[in-house]
Subunit: 137 residues, 3 copies
């Protein structure tokens, strides 16, 4: 059972919460008759300058602070960078954050921690980004 | 098949090895009759200022050096941080390390490399942290 | 269904594309009669100074720039490092990048994005590195 959806990002760096879309995918598997009560799913983005992470969704300043911290770690421009598109920092951030996350579910609900949300992380936007979700166990 | 356990961390940054608890979970599935000889499991922590990683467990200085290296990368305080709880660095480290790891097993034993151990990574402790383990394939 | 192969790295830091070997594994499962049309697999490396990542495979300068960016983030030598082998930075990079990746497949083909390739990341080479692949869902 696989789902997919698209996310419009709004700036070069943007963390867009997608917990609702992933829960919707679970809800739809129930409707479709493919319902699996307990298991795990993977959220995957097929891009090399974006990522998927799980972090706090209660205070929006958390993801803004992470954007700052990533900029401190990975300078946008550097004399050593050779990639002609000029977005090497975005590729680095994608590999640091990773392009997928694993999430458990039970009784058709995502089993995230109280403060955890799932985010599509944009590092070279604004763009339209693709996200795939698949139940894997 | 899902297991869970708790880990008491002892300082703001702490890497606590949990390989034994994860192996115990596998042993218990054998006892319970749900035994699966070969597959994969996920170790997940439902927190936004902690993480799970796999790294060397032979020399304890490896994880201490990683704690130092993370502090060099992600300053605890920074004028750009806006999150009022003051632990933005811990959130950043959680996303860098990730909140889950996938591990293969065979014949009821974790298939880790010779030097690999599984660690619960604390970035805003000391606290009691929750870890979940689920066989997914 | 599990596969494995070895990768010879050529320098201290080296990103070696292994997409072909992972696709070969899928092709072999078809030949062996264990074919599963759709699902997910995990690529895992059992080392503590190497990693696995997904990033751009079109322009080779992307992974070279990531090697530079990682060196900026994680100094090879630092007075705070205590690990006697002197490769603490390699351990840190392994945890930042992670030792596994999850990849979807359908109709026997890896479902990667247009620009995505799978890389074995060497951080303390040159060495011969081991990679395992397992279908998990």
């Amino acid at each position: 059972m696989t789902g997919e959806f698209y996310v419009q990002t709004k700036s070069r760096t943007d963390f867009v919460e997608i917990t609702g879309q992933v829960q919707d995918f679970l809800n739809n598997t129930k409707v479709s008759g493919d319902f699996k009560a307990d298991g795990a799913l993977v959220v995957f983005t097929p891009h090399t300058t974006a990522g998927v992470t799980i972090n706090e969704n209660a205070d929006p300043s958390v993801v803004l602070d992470m954007a700052h911290a990533l900029d401190l770690m990975v300078p946008w421009s550097h004399p050593a960078y050779a990639h002609s598109e000029g977005n090497s920092a975005a590729h680095m951030k994608s590999t640091l954050v990773g392009c997928s996350e694993m999430v458990f579910f039970g009784d058709g609900r995502l089993e995230l921690g109280k403060w955890q949300g799932i985010f599509l992380c944009e590092f070279d936007g604004p763009r339209t980004r693709h996200v795939r979700v698949r139940i894997i166990g």
